[in-house]
Symmetry: C2
Subunit: 463 residues, 2 copies
């Protein structure tokens, strides 16, 4: 009986302890289920679960699935990086050329995957259905505030005393700017000029949309001396320049010269920032800042009120301003950029681009057949030190006379670049994009190494 | 001892029962917390919680808060409907004019609030950063599929054998279409014409963006007889028409005449659908279908491959295609529209617009001072019955000679409409928007009733 009681008392104590533990677990679970944020969701739950399910589809690190991807067997399929294939992108395609053609800024994708929680966005079905914001404008005041804060952190542009116009990508703003500046004097069409080498879209776009007020003339140097003061000149000044990464200044400065400063690449990612740019008309794009080319968001900082109004009229008549969805997404992304001290994306982007440039430079330095542009280290006000180059593109030259169509030389070596002739230069040059995915860059480097190895004098050990 | 044992045994049994229950509760909670969808969220949780918190801000049914609204005290403030004010939009502003000016399709906002769960969208930070989709195009194949399905349900347009170009709103496609059609013959500029009354943006936009290939001429009837076959004509045909809701046909039919059929309002919401439209170039917009004007999404159905390619080139050069975020949102919304039998939004929209038209007609019928357009009931292939009119706008006429500037007459009566002269008509006409929020419509009706009451012969009882 004594043993039994002891045993029973032991079991009882055990039972009570278990009960206590179980109740504590109950409380903990209940808290998590009903009180903590995590489980108090209602209408957003299924959309969130759907997005997480798609995001969790494994594509072997060589691709990713998207919510709006092609659906097979009820779920979106992996979309693989170049040269990868298979349902989970794990198959490497042999003899696949490295694609270094486009300026697709996918090098920042890993940054956003690392910041999944802070950069996620939940949009209600009734989000901003109206044409206008509550101040009757087409533009988000919160987004404008974030842009001004960002420039003050990056130190790359003066926003004080500047108006802001949003664009559906800075692409839309290029022609909006030309249009706005050309209207000052309608008696003769303004000459749209740019120094060689230049971003091809200036030419293609300006020619397609040309009104009677302006005309694309191209090579700025041809008109520098012949141009008298009575001719309006609109000069595209891309700084740092696409394709060669050089900092540039306007070469026309007369009373009838106006410049569009395309600062797409004017971020610590790609260049040392010498001082905040304070030009009359500056263009920026989300694409080369956060890597979101697909979002299509850009902005112009404008000093002159009339130019501001004309550019606003252009974007308003063209697309009724910028989609509220684009503005919402841009705001979310910029606010992640501004989190903390607002420096993390710049460090990440510079680190990546700097590494890529160093690897590429090392390879090209072993070659006598190929050269790339020389950019000197210089003092960067953002990093507060002298820093090496980290441009978005390599502007590669084939040095041999017989290699006069350089992109074909590269193509036969498994590298797809962009012909220099498209930039107003000669076909001895090729632009190679360094801002695409790591896979793209790795393939580029691998093929370039092979090409350099084929030259006399270079040995495998040097690689 | 016996009592004690009984009691102890009772407590023990009780404890074991409690333990068992507690364990079952634990299992239930664990299932909900870890297994069921609801609580298995990770990175999307805080964004979802944030969106739900903003959506739950109470604005008294006369406004709503948005995620990207102006932030005061750490959270976005209510954005109130016209004539409402205060932190929760509960204050009615006395002597506030009814704003019936813009074509802001807010009448559909309640529909989306009712479909909160299915229309919610969760976007990852790394969603479609690239310029291109996996097929190297700028356009979502899934979205194109949804658009084709939608037209086949609505029965309003033939999509078989048609190409699709997406636009940043149909606004962008208006000029893209003019541009594409004008290039057929560059020796003389094409005449861009339209029948009166017409949507003012055709004129404003065409004049702002005019190239050497086309020119806005306006009133189609002026050129109908004078125009010989050698002159290219590009005719805007808006059917149903904005502002008067009438179905329209092209009046130019010669070999050098081309038409842009603007079918923005060609949905069962606003008109009986006589048959699927099968024109060479048709434009549609999300704005007047789902009410999402702010999203900026439109599409063109195009028969001719060359026109398709030219319009694609236009949108590609203008904005690098349509933002991937716009396409994602449009896909989500269209898929909600297509849910079930795909008829629910049409029933809802027609019901609302029909009620509004009946209320307005009843009021105007008591007036001799004001008239509105007459639209006959007709057979609708979508509803398979003869249905009454439900146009997007009232095209109101001031009948008294002294009321020659009609919008001023209405303005003094507390109604803001759009002057007929902007539509190429006379100032005896005013366009009144019927597609705004219920508050806007209620205020319009209230002020109109007052105006009519001021006329001789009308009595309060008739109202």
């Amino acid at each position: 009986m004594g043993v039994k009681t002891d045993q029973s008392s032991y079991y009882n104590k055990y039972a009570y302890t278990c009960l206590l533990c179980s109740i504590l677990v109950n409380l903990f679970l209940s808290y998590n289920l009903f009180v903590s944020k995590k489980c108090s969701l209602s209408w957003s739950t299924s959309a969130a679960a759907e997005a997480e399910a798609v995001a969790s589809i494994s594509c072997s690190g060589h691709g990713r699935a998207y919510l709006d991807g092609i659906v097979v067997d009820g779920k979106p399929v992996c979309e693989c990086n170049t040269c990868y294939d298979g349902p989970d992108c794990s198959t490497y395609i042999p003899d696949c050329p490295a694609d270094a053609n486009s300026g697709d800024p996918m090098f920042l994708e890993p940054y956003w995957m690392q910041n999944a929680a802070s950069s996620a966005l939940v949009v209600t079905g009734w989000h901003r259905m109206s044409y206008i914001f509550s101040d009757h404008s087409y533009t988000s005041q919160e987004l404008e505030k974030s842009i001004r804060r960002l420039h003050s952190i990056a130190g790359n542009a003066v926003t004080e005393g500047k108006y802001i116009v949003f664009g559906t990508g800075s692409t839309q703003l290029l022609n909006a700017a030309v249009n706005a500046l050309s209207l000052y004097n309608s008696s003769t069409p303004s000459k749209v000029v740019v120094s060689i080498p230049f971003y091809p879209d200036y030419e293609v776009q300006t020619e397609l949309f040309a009104t009677e007020h302006y005309k694309f003339y191209g090579d700025a140097s041809l008109y520098k001396n012949s141009s008298d003061d009575s001719t309006n000149v609109i000069e595209f000044v891309t700084s740092p320049n696409n394709p060669d990464g050089k900092l540039r200044k306007a070469i026309f400065n007369g009373p009838s010269a106006r410049a569009i400063h395309d600062h797409a690449y004017n971020w610590p990612h790609f260049t040392a920032i010498p001082h905040p740019s304070d030009e009359d008309l500056m263009l920026f794009t989300l694409s080369k800042l956060t890597g979101h080319a697909g979002v299509r968001f850009g902005w112009a900082l404008i000093k002159d009120k009339t130019v501001y109004e004309r550019m606003s009229t252009y974007t308003n008549e063209n697309t009724f301003g910028v989609s509220r969805d684009i503005q919402l997404r841009a705001l979310k992304l910029l606010n992640v950029v501004l989190d903390g001290d607002g420096r993390s994306i710049f460090k990440y982007a510079y680190g990546t681009m700097r590494n890529r440039w160093e690897s590429l430079s090392k390879t090209v330095s072993l070659s006598t057949r190929f050269t790339i542009q020389d950019i000197s280290p210089s003092f960067c006000t953002f990093f507060q030190n002298v820093r090496g180059p980290s441009p978005a593109y390599a502007w590669l030259k084939c040095e041999r006379e017989e290699d006069d169509i350089c992109y074909k030389v590269l193509e036969s070596g498994g590298i797809l670049g962009r012909d220099g002739i498209l930039f107003g230069a000669s076909s001895q040059y090729v632009r190679l994009s360094l801002i695409k995915s790591q896979d793209d860059f790795d393939q580029l480097l691998q093929h370039l190494k092979k090409l350099v190895l084929q030259e006399d004098g270079a040995t495998r050990e040097d690689m």
